[in-house]
Symmetry: C2
Subunit: 159 residues, 2 copies
Amino acid sequence: MAEIVLRPIGSLTTPFRTRADCPRNGWQLDPPPLCHAELLPEFRDGLRDIDGFSYLFLLYWLHEAPAPQLVFTPPFDASPRGVFATRAPGRPNPIGLAVVRFEGFAGEGRLAVRGLDCIDGTPLLDVKPYLATTDARPDAALGWLAPHAGRKHGEGHLG
Amino acid sequence: MAEIVLRPIGSLTTPFRTRADCPRNGWQLDPPPLCHAELLPEFRDGLRDIDGFSYLFLLYWLHEAPAPQLVFTPPFDASPRGVFATRAPGRPNPIGLAVVRFEGFAGEGRLAVRGLDCIDGTPLLDVKPYLATTDARPDAALGWLAPHAGRKHGEGHLG
């Protein structure tokens, strides 16, 4: 298989206009700002029964990602790191992933969410229910990121 | 933006040969079987520093997914559900997502993992570190899937 072709199913509205405005992750700001995921009309039937989930995974296309760098020194760190050990946007397939809190519908096909970290207008690729049974691993080790876990907005960007 | 083009960075080895062999999710089998994610040589430098993470997100291309159905009745359920409220493979952009336990390197560029649910030979798209601080939501509500959370292998497929 040489190539895989995707098509956006909608787009994301966030308060972040440029990459420099984006937080390091969607939960860095307190409280995380209200954002929206709006599906194109032809995909909205797929949202049936989503109401009961309190968290969702959103997958999105990091359309303004810089060229991929397999090894780079993050702005908040002193050592070069492998891109697959980071959430940085400049990766071979720049797909963004966020766990967002779902706060209900804000119009037809328009989901109100908190926890996004990406630029306003980012193309949406997929919505999946977050399942605590398979997806929550509160004891997961943070690896080289452990010393940075408490850092705030403006000091870099993990995703 | 009309089209987005991706390229596999490697492939996944699992004990599941057909879709019918796949568990409903990668944590359904106890214990979850050992699987591998092998990166192509040109992407292996990106794995630097991944050692310290105990869980990873893997994104993969569900290359044998059936045609997308926006609304369908899951095999283990009695009501039609919207595809974005499921982890089913037949979705507009069939990208699979799994939280896997990382059990170290099993060769150069070859990660030993547990928690995969997909067919042997599935193309790998991305590897991301799982961060308990942003990604673990143990209290997340399971929505319509709550009554099915305990079901076992062979009764259907969520992802």
